[in-house]
Symmetry: C2
Subunit: 337 residues, 2 copies
């Protein structure tokens, strides 16, 4: 029993099963792939594969289907990433090059990726740990209510209304704005918590209280840019692959809606810094995704933010991985260095 052929058999099983959604038997296998041996031999190989937990038979006399472990081996060792077609590459380029605005880019990205793969696509907002304060704006909405806007040099804008606890005039507020801006422009968002106390201390005593509130607000804004969000598209594709989720797609939709779950999942997949990472079925930390796989990769500076695809374990991994990788590359290029 040759080891290479066994892997070949596993690959054939995965490919056929992904293609047909039907358990694949030994006979069909020798017919569809020219393996040069008889079905009986394949049967032996399959028995071995089953012993190793790579494939399983849904019932006594049906073909075999890959297990999570089988997919894992397939992804890690067997599959070659398929290059995208010329047309697909061009589609990516065209679609993503239209826009300047971050929200818009991410929106387009997920739409594209979900169309490309026929799965659910997700993209995480880029981490802003390296982002710097570009601008700070205070706007008086009411005597005590200040709309605070924090603009990062990445183009990201966050705003919040803050109750400053004392009545302020326009002039006082303008003074505070100048003070904060002078002191903080160019500061990294991640260093804001350390930098803020000094600004408050430098403030004239009568405004100290308001400055304190504003500083707290800015701190919160900075961390809410650190706090991660995501965009998603293609949930309707889930319904199409309904059959692939024996239970129901309910838990999957729940997981997707609980963005926290997805975000944790994506960031835990950080490991492989170049190339895409795959999390298969029960490998996922979240129970609702026991029958789903996630294919993701980093993009942008430091590959810290993730873009990826979620679908049934019975997924065309090579193609999906290629699409995710390609989209991530274009995304990195567009968002700049």
């Amino acid at each position: 029993m040759s080891e290479p052929r066994k892997l070949e058999v596993l690959r054939a099983i995965v490919e056929d099963y992904v293609h047909s959604r039907e358990p694949v038997g030994s006979k069909a296998l020798v017919e569809r792939h020219h393996l040069g041996v008889s079905s009986a031999t394949i049967r032996n190989d399959m028995a071995a594969l089953e012993d190793e937990g790579l494939i399983t038979a849904p019932h006594t006399s049906a073909g075999r289907i890959p297990t999570d472990k089988g997919y894992r081996l397939f992804v890690d060792q067997i599959s070659a990433v398929k290059p995208l077609s010329q047309a697909e590459r061009r589609a990516i380029q065209n679609l993503l090059e239209g826009s300047e605005d971050l929200d818009d880019v991410l929106e387009r990205t997920v739409r594209l990726l979900s169309q490309l793969t026929n799965q659910v696509a997700v993209v995480q907002y880029p981490h802003l740990s390296r982002a710097m304060v570009r601008h700070i704006e205070f706007v008086l909405l009411a005597p005590r209510q200040v709309l605070t806007v924090l603009i990062a040099d990445t183009g990201k804008v966050e705003q919040r209304v803050i109750d400053v606890g004392q009545e302020l005039g326009d002039d006082a507020l303008a003074g505070l704005r100048t003070l904060f801006l002078k002191s903080l422009a160019g500061t990294r968002l991640s260093l804001l918590p350390q930098a803020l106390p000094a600004v408050v201390a430098a403030c004239e005593p009568s405004l100290r209280h308001a400055a304190q509130s504003l500083a707290r607000g800015l701190d919160a804004l900075a961390s809410s840019t650190r706090e991660e969000r995501m965009v998603m598209a293609g949930t309707a594709n889930l319904a199409r692959s309904n059959v692939d989720f024996p239970l129901s797609i309910g838990p999957v939709l729940e997981a997707l809606e609980e963005q926290v779950v997805m975000l944790r999942l994506l960031s835990e997949m950080a490991q492989d810094p170049r190339g895409v990472t795959v999390s298969i079925g029960r490998e996922n930390p979240y129970d609702g995704l026991a029958e789903a796989s996630v294919v993701a990769t980093g993009y942008g500076p430091g590959s810290s933010a993730k873009v990826g695809v979620l679908g049934p374990t019975r997924m065309d991994y090579p193609t999906t991985m290629a699409a995710v990788r390609a989209v991530a590359r274009y995304l990195s290029r567009i968002l700049g260095p």
Copy 2:
């Protein structure tokens, strides 16, 4: 054959069917509701209701289920809006009162509404036609790239990066900022297109070109606040009521993802200015929603923006309508006059 009783029978059928998801027969009806007549009589009534197209029998010898038309009559004439429980009212109040930020309020609203109704909840961003310019900010990102921020007095912030087509210094940009701000502060967003040319004209000739670009950008920002967006939650609830969508929930998910479809739908439901509006099954203009109903109502100033719920036609209309109405009221109150 008494007319009032016939309506009573229709109501009983709707209620039972919504409750049990099973076609309801004449015998079960007289048992569950004390109608004071025998099942044979009910059969006659049911035959009449069927002739009028209000109920239908899925097959020869099963009970009857309501048609879209039947639900319509039920909603319009029979059902009384159920008041929410004290606990529910308090939950609404508590949940919505925590936050100041518009995005956050809407987010909480949909979550709440989807939990309250066990359906998909959607809320449209408020129209900003009455909103006024509170503040304008230009930030130089690169010699020709200006981040333009438009802040409305509603707390809404829109931003975009604009290529001004000529190199600008910080001072020049500050001048432009002052000019725009002086001229436009307090202007209604809806009047911006008319107001902008004058500002550009007032600008010193050497900066005319940049001013033109910025004006175009502001116009776009204002219309992108007019351009409507929505927030949604509870898609997982769809999967739970899987059974109620005989075909598949696919088309429904598609409709939800194509926000344009939902937005058009919501705005077309504008008619009834007070009270909730219901669109049932095939009444919906979009084919994918042929088995779904939408319950919506306006909120905020002029009740122009909509908040609502989408679910299967087999839905508990009275309760859903009550929840939508209550949430819309609290929402209006929180967003102020």
